[in-house]
Symmetry: C2
Subunit: 321 residues, 2 copies
């Protein structure tokens, strides 16, 4: 039977995208410590493979795009990692084991309250030179230490750090293919701010670009859209939540709808740079849901993760296709 | 009397550079909190204006160059801030008051030993839920808290944070003009990795650059060389130490010599990305001095700051011109 023309075009498009992704991975500098990371990942997934509970992979923070092979300069994406770190805490609270793929130096779960520059501002030495925390911060710091210890000791939190887009995408591939065995129980919560553009490794300057020669002209290529590959190849049954950040509210929802269809996401969370801590819109195939926090004291992620856990439960209840 | 032609050319070059710098500051987005920063700076300098001790301004970490006005993407310079943070500790130990102009999130004095991702890994709760540090880290953490408290309580450390090249250069100008009254007693230790290229604010995209339109072409302008302005206008009598980092050892020393002459530095510290923690070359008008650390346990900055304190004493002993 002949394929109908639009299905043929779609299949061709998919094949092209998969080839682009494979070319990206072939050319990328190899992930350091790959074997050790793969082993701890396999162990983590195996421990949580039984049962019918969800397991979530959360990505967080911005990726960098090196401009030189011996990297002095790079392009970075703004992202404090606040959303990913907060969401990790709430998914853990909801009983999810969490694989936290995060940018080195970005916000960490249970550390979000920390002063920007120096944790030393939080501590004092007592008379017998014991470490003290001022009364004002004492309960926060103690809760943080205790919650963090619990998550680590119970084997519910696996932290995998990245800096560059090359590291990020290799980690995501590794985690997604490894979580594929979980079927519908796997969830991807893709809050990292991933570069849309990059400089292919082989066309990159080897040494620091010199400034004597006047203005600098750069050409950056589009990065392959790995959401598509994640859905098509790596973990087709998983529940996938991606994020769309824009600074211009006029194009935001339209771009979120587009991402939903194009990459086959279950949910796209649309947020605007100006107020991403206060309000987001969850876009799904059945409509839009606005989520806003009820007070400045509450994290928006409380409601967001709550809704997602419910939707994921329904997704798990479906028979695996 | 007519100027000789090379002096005339030099004066013209200087006038052009100063005009470029002024244009940069006119077009830069204004520094947030400028008045509060200026007040704490004026207070700090006034407190240390008497006496004949040196006062040092240390810059540390990399500057970012925003690519969009509502900044999602930016170009960054690699720099952990390790050198600036370590040097701050040793200058404080030598009795110098320190103005520490640092990149937000870069390494901080007395915190360099911290685990990369999470300070929570350092702490435990005891049986009475008191905060404990494992024996292995106890003395390091306690010394850090005590040294940091001492520097702050004695008013010897002023921390001024920046992120973008616009903030960095405005802070440097503010500090340098304010330290000018110290004459020879002022020292600048310019370890920050400052972008050579930038996108002028007014020519910057207002919103996030869209990725749908194929490859991205960017043109970046050369940033004005503020070392020249620092020496010529802001603080002409100060003792100035700048840093030159290259990835290619073949051009490093030659570029350091050039910077020494071109910007009238007292010392240029030449370092290579591959081994900057182990060895540097101090380039001065009277020759080159190689400084290497004696063991992996010692910071290179122990010897480096020691040599600079001696050279600065000689500089202070000169009559102010």
């Amino acid at each position: 039977m002949a394929m109908d023309p639009s299905a043929a075009a779609q299949a061709e498009d998919a094949a092209r995208r998969i080839e682009e992704a494979e070319a990206f991975f072939r050319a990328a500098p190899p992930l350091r410590d790959r074997d050790r990371l793969a082993a701890s990942l396999a162990d983590f997934v195996a421990r949580h493979a039984a049962g019918n509970r969800g397991v979530v992979c959360i990505t967080s923070g911005g990726t960098t795009v090196p401009l030189e092979q011996r990297c002095v300069r790079f392009i970075d994406n703004f992202s404090s990692g606040q959303r990913g770190a907060a969401s990790t805490e709430y998914f853990l609270k909801a009983g999810y084991p969490v694989i936290f793929i995060h940018r080195r130096g970005s916000k960490q779960p249970y550390c979000r309250f920390l002063p920007e520059d120096s944790f030393l501002d939080l501590f004092e030495l007592g008379e017998d030179s014991e470490i003290q925390v001022p009364q004002s911060h004492s309960s926060v710091v103690k809760a943080a230490i205790s919650n963090y210890r619990k998550a680590i000791d119970e084997g519910l939190l696996l932290k995998l750090p990245f800096t560059t887009i090359f590291e990020y995408l290799q980690l995501l591939q590794m985690v997604a293919t490894s979580m594929n065995c979980l079927g519908h129980r796997g969830m991807f919560y893709l809050a990292a701010a991933v570069s849309d553009f990059y400089v292919p490794w082989e066309s990159m300057a080897k040494h620091k670009i010199q400034s004597a020669g006047g203005p600098l002209n750069m050409q950056l290529n589009q990065a392959p859209k790995m959401l598509f590959i994640l859905r098509k190849k790596w973990a087709p049954s998983a529940f996938c939540v991606s994020f769309k950040l824009e600074t211009d509210p006029n194009i935001l929802l339209q771009k979120a709808e587009m991402a939903l269809k194009k990459y086959g996401m279950n949910v796209v969370v649309a947020n605007e740079l100006a107020n991403y801590k206060d309000v987001v819109v969850m876009v799904t195939s059945s409509g839009r849901t606005t989520v806003s926090r009820s007070s400045k004291e509450e994290d928006l992620e409380v409601q967001l993760t709550d809704l997602l856990v419910k939707m994921h439960s329904e997704h798990i209840a479906q028979p695996n296709s």
